[in-house]
Amino acid sequence: MSLTPGPVGRLIEELSRLPGIGPKTASRLTFYMLRAPEAQVIALADAIRGLRAGTVLCSTCFNIAEHDPCPVCADQERDRGLICVVEEPLDVLAIERTRRFRGVYHVLHGALSPVDGIGPDELKMRELVERVRSGGVREVLLATNPTMEGDATAMYLARQLAPTGIRVTRLAMGLPVGGDLEYADEVTLGEALEGRRDV
């Protein structure tokens, strides 16, 4: 017979499905919530529930936002001729923090990884090519992660975009290989943006 009441076990199980959370952390969080003020726990539950209902994908750049278009795409000051292609919405935040990029984004929602069953159709790739073809774009900056999968994605996209004749660039080296953009510090990422090179 288990000593853990059903609801407690269920929350531990759900939490430990989350990335970066092992069974120990999941248990600690669960027992913390058991003892925390009820209002705080309800606020958390509401926030989780509201997460899906309160967000949309921007129909231009596919970033996650409260409204469509997202604030970046809606901003008339941004340079629409320069599109920065990233894997995840978190990468947009990382690049925005550097304050050195004035273009717009395109979020792929992943990288090519056959092991994980992710091919071009699983990513926002066709949408990118169409967006570039529809005109007004001067340069596409490929800012996928400096991992094998990120490189595979960048190379594949560069070939897809080649017929358009538009300039395609890649983030400069200097980012830790195998790392995520999201963890790069602002200075390094800023330098990588400035030092981008043609593919």
Partner: protein, 397 residues
């Protein structure tokens, strides 16, 4: 180098072991299933981060603690090397069962000099050459055994090789998945280009490194083999790279790190291009270091296919002794020699040759069921330990 101290907790049948090791030859005597091999396995594990015997680390945790909430095993070694001392620590923890993993995940924590590290950082800290009774399988067994042998040997002396191997395995996995995907559903074959290039890059680096190692091993093994056979047979080691790489001698002196010389890369890339259709049809990658072969040939005869058991044993012994010289040459440190009950497999002449070869080592650990198989004068120069049910005691002579 030598192992100064070994500490084991819940490792196999050692509930607790704290043992100083002398800088000389230790003769470990005991009946079967008392823990002789487990002791060598522990030392080998600290050197290579894998067991020489089993595929799954979970069996390394003592059965006696299996019912505890968080069963774990810990291995700690203190190593003295010419470059200084090192403190090696590996802990294996079996986490609780979960719906998606009923056996419980096995977590491995590695520390080097007290700092949390990856497995790859532990490699090279402790160098060992392990002699097993079944070593002749290396010659006679499947090609995968020989590739694994080269990988383990090279990873111990060349951290870059180990890194390249990790990259290669990742590329191979991705490419194989992509080949299967392309076969099963409509998708763009242009995705292969990137993985082909990466396969050529890391594959050329690995096959070439193995080729160079085999050439070094061959130089020593041929000599030793000649002595073992009284000069009647000449042993050759032939590495066959499926990527059809150009001659070893043609390499430029200093290629870039992590990049093969251009001629190698081009050769590998065209070998991959030639097999692309075949790979697409079969859904697996059919060229690359994972398909390479290493042959042991004596007087024109492939010993793996046509050698007698005796010939295979002799070739395996020559290879292992060559490995000792190879490692010493690569690292500048004499590796620790671990011999698991091998004397019984060797005839008198080969046994004596092996014992004479041990004289040059700094530290040797030999297990045996029967001390009588060793000459008296050899035994006199050793420290003798007795193993019984996971406990070691000193023998007074």
């Amino acid at each position: 180098m030598y192992l100064k101290h070994l500490s084991l907790t819940n490792f196999r049948n050692y509930a607790r072991l704290e043992r100083d090791f002398p800088e000389r030859t230790v003769l470990v005597q005991g009946q079967n299933a008392q823990g002789k091999t487990n002791l060598l396995e522990a030392i080998y594990y600290l050197a290579t981060t894998r067991s020489p015997i089993i595929a799954s680390d979970r069996h390394l945790i003592s059965w006696g603690v299996a019912a505890e909430p968080l069963p774990y095993a810990r291995l700690v070694g203190d190593v003295e090397r010419s470059s200084g001392a090192a403190h090696l620590e590996v802990t294996l923890v079996r986490e609780p069962a979960r719906p998606e993993n009923p056996a419980g995940r096995l977590a491995r924590h590695i520390r080097l000099n007290g700092v949390e590290r990856r497995a790859i950082d532990l490699l090279g800290q402790l160098n060992v050459v392990l002699f097993l009774p079944q070593d002749s399988d290396l010659i006679a067994g499947a090609p995968a055994l020989r590739r694994r042998y080269l990988d383990v040997t090279l990873c111990q002396v060349d951290p870059a090789y180990c890194r390249h191997l990790q990259r290669y395995n990742r590329v191979l996995e991705q490419r194989n998945h992509l080949l299967r995907r392309l076969r099963e559903r409509h998708d763009d074959p242009a995705q292969l280009t990137y993985w082909d290039e990466q396969l050529a890059r890391w594959g050329a680096l690995i096959s070439r490194r193995r080729q160079r190692a085999v050439s070094d091993l061959e130089a020593a093994a041929t000599l030793i083999h000649g002595e073992l056979t009284g000069g009647s047979e000449r042993l050759a080691l032939q590495y066959e790279a499926s990527l059809a790489l150009p001659q070893l001698e043609a390499d430029p002196a200093t290629p870039e790190p992590d990049q093969p010389p251009p001629a190698l890369y081009e050769a590998a890339l065209s070998a991959i291009a030639r097999t692309r259709q075949r790979d697409l049809a079969s859904g697996v990658t059919t060229v690359g270091p994972h398909r390479d072969e290493l042959r042991f040939v004596a007087n024109g005869v492939d010993l793996g296919l046509l050698g007698s058991r005796g010939q295979q044993r002799t070739a395996a012994l020559a290879l292992k002794l060559a490995e000792v010289r190879f490692m010493a040459g690569q690292t500048g440190d004499m590796p620790i020699l671990l011999l698991d009950d091998v004397m019984s497999e060797l005839d008198r002449a080969r046994g004596q040759y092996l014992l004479a070869a041990l004289a040059g080592a700094r530290q040797v650990v030999i297990t045996t069921t029967d001390i009588e198989v060793f000459p008296r004068e050899f035994v006199r120069q050793t420290v003798r330990w007795q193993v019984r049910e996971g406990t070691i005691s000193e023998e007074r002579s």
